[in-house]
Symmetry: C2
Subunit: 502 residues, 2 copies
Amino acid sequence: MSALSELQSHLAEVKALSEAAAVLGWDQQTYMPTGGAVSRAAQITALTRVVHQKATSAEMAGLLERAEAAGAELDTDSDDAAYLRMARRDFDKISKLPESLVAEMSRVTTLAHGAWALARAQSDYAGFAPWLTQILELSRQAADHLGHDGERYDALLDQYEPGMKTAEVRAMFESIKPALVALVRKISALGPSPVDDSVLKRSFDEEGQRQFGESVIRAIGFDWTRGRQDRAVHPFCTSFGRSDVRITTRFDKNFLPMALFGSIHETGHALYEQGIAERYAGNILCDGTSLGFHESQSRLWENLVGRSRPFWQKFYPALQSQFPEPLKDIDGEAFYRAINKVEPTLIRVEADEVTYNLHILLRFEIEQDLLSGKLSVADAPAAWNAKMSEYFGLTPPNDAQGILQDVHWSGGMIGYFPTYSIGNLLSVQLFEKANSDLGGQISEQIAAGEMRPLLDWLRTNVHQWGRKYPPTELVRRIVGGPLDPAPYLAYLEKKFGNIYTR
Amino acid sequence: MSALSELQSHLAEVKALSEAAAVLGWDQQTYMPTGGAVSRAAQITALTRVVHQKATSAEMAGLLERAEAAGAELDTDSDDAAYLRMARRDFDKISKLPESLVAEMSRVTTLAHGAWALARAQSDYAGFAPWLTQILELSRQAADHLGHDGERYDALLDQYEPGMKTAEVRAMFESIKPALVALVRKISALGPSPVDDSVLKRSFDEEGQRQFGESVIRAIGFDWTRGRQDRAVHPFCTSFGRSDVRITTRFDKNFLPMALFGSIHETGHALYEQGIAERYAGNILCDGTSLGFHESQSRLWENLVGRSRPFWQKFYPALQSQFPEPLKDIDGEAFYRAINKVEPTLIRVEADEVTYNLHILLRFEIEQDLLSGKLSVADAPAAWNAKMSEYFGLTPPNDAQGILQDVHWSGGMIGYFPTYSIGNLLSVQLFEKANSDLGGQISEQIAAGEMRPLLDWLRTNVHQWGRKYPPTELVRRIVGGPLDPAPYLAYLEKKFGNIYTR
């Protein structure tokens, strides 16, 4: 066996064990009975420890060095060279984290998740604060082990968005914030909203929602032989290899968009995973290249496609025949406007496309200050509410609808939020390049129910590569330049200008 | 930390990893999309290898020796002493199997399962024969590594029924075979059956079956906060700790007993797992003491309770109101007789209580001869059919309904079948002791819907102990003597004499 094959065999086993842990996580959020919580934590912790040991062992270090030596002459653009670069990157990163810190983070976040859920249910920030303090401290330790140039946030961000710096994220937000705030103000200044979304809150039976939702994601291209959709409290996408990709959704009888756009969003993630080249199956390159790229896929299908006029030209008749009663007096255009209503709200996951990034900016600012210690855990709710007032003109009535609304911090995911905004910006850049490559015909194709050209373009340009190219390189290969906010802002101006000035 | 605590901490991790593998197995049979098969095999193989490494490592050997030395003075009846005995037994057994053999068995059985399923679907024994040859050879190697006194079957049987010898199983069958054959002949000699079971083949809608089945297993005592029931092609029970015990069932619209008695049977297994003492949670004693004991619990609830007259005195009205149309002309007594019809059939899983053990005897005889080489793989179908003719007067029309019907051999489970008959015999011994301890009132209690006294008796006498006592010792502690076929035969004579001479 060659040195590279030996390394690949070792890392395939590590990957298989990581996938096993992901199966346990999926089950925990879909089918596990409540009684299973304690043993499930022990199972996941044991797996996490084994994965860390095998990924950082002396054996692994030796395999990697021998494979690198044997592969010194490889073509740098070859799969094997990319494999070695990624193996080195992963090894260097994970080796820097002591096993005790990894185990402690796993233990604390398992407990913190329960504490957060309870705190949110009771709007009791004090119940979560000690856990947040611990998680911040562990995150600081992790950042220092990972290494940085004085900006701890860099080290954490790099785990989710390889190569991206905090300063770049700041610059990104600085370039979009004024335009977003102005757009929100312009729309708010119109007075009583010219867009009526009350139709979305009528009664839509759950089984009908499920059937329609499944038909839509099938039409988009979700491969049901290599994936499934289940119910969960929080929608998510997880994969145990490119041929077993699972998404979840949740239903609200009196709020149609929740399941519908949730399913389309998660399908965007799933299409990425299902679309990775088959030759990478079971291989460390078989994953999304960054969370920003992943989010670009979910937001592209959710917003650029799923909330577009052409999409509903195609699908509205089917929706209307699924729900003749609640939709009887609503035409397709009115429905399109309803699902695109812009309104400052307290809750990120319910936000429209215009306000969404301001929610992310707020979190990005708060978590930087928490990490640096500039903001104390005790003062964080007040800081949150002050920013809500500044950006949205709203004051949360309680912390459940404020600082306690998101799960991320309880899971130790400090540095994750910016990837949502990166995904939003990137989704427009990719969509416009696809449209240009497809002769400007995407709208017509979507209106005709032809989703395949767009999916094929994404497969060819994004999905198939998995982690072969780092995100900054991949975006450059596709659009010929870096991440750029301009197309995104232009898209918002055009779409919502059209909706709000008709 | 004491030496014992260190050992327990190590083995708790091994157990957690085994449980993780069980979760993956459950998912594979319930929800996994077809595309997931290849990566699932890699995940389970990786976990199996890690479990074997950790269970047999030099570290483990040292922990065990130190804990044994520190525990030399323990009260032999204490939990800790039992723990050390079981840790030693497990370690000695698993250490004898080379990792390469364990991995090869895992690889071959994963592939053989698919080959068997295809061979059965096509009734193509030749397609399965090469796999059976390999599995027999690996089983011989395993038996030789495990050690035996010339009787290889002993080593395999001991994996499922610790302490039981092949000679004892032979003696058991010799003592029941003549009476069973005589009883079958007596019933067959009555001519056209005096029992009509056609009602069971009427149309029973699946949702109604599910609802009624769930109400029955809830009444029996299944704890839904610590378990769940899903659909699967083959019914089974699996557990990931005593607080996460899962059963599966399958439905046939035109055959009511399949889901109903399948669910009750699996619930019997689940009640055992859910009933193990809480202090054993996450501990190697937290498991059934043998497969025979496990089967005694499933058969007790399925047959002694679920196919009894008092049970249907209680539940028939509810069944009739669930299915008014198909049951409109059937009274409780006729239903009781229908579910107890005795008839020689080709398929084990559809067999009645009288003929069931003859199916097991046939398999026990064939697998012994296959293992010893007295019977060649090529000649096995003919041997199977000859025994079917001898015991049942039936000839399978094809191998799918003959030698290919069971999954066990494809999974490497040679030596497993006898545990079904051990369970049958034991179920009657336990039930009669329970009835005697409960003042002979069990029938009246069941007829009144009071299941708790019987369940409590089983919890106290069987379930709570987990693996603390080996099966031979546990049966002696409960009934004051060894496994005994006499009560079982007397029960059959009485029950079926009553049904067939009315």
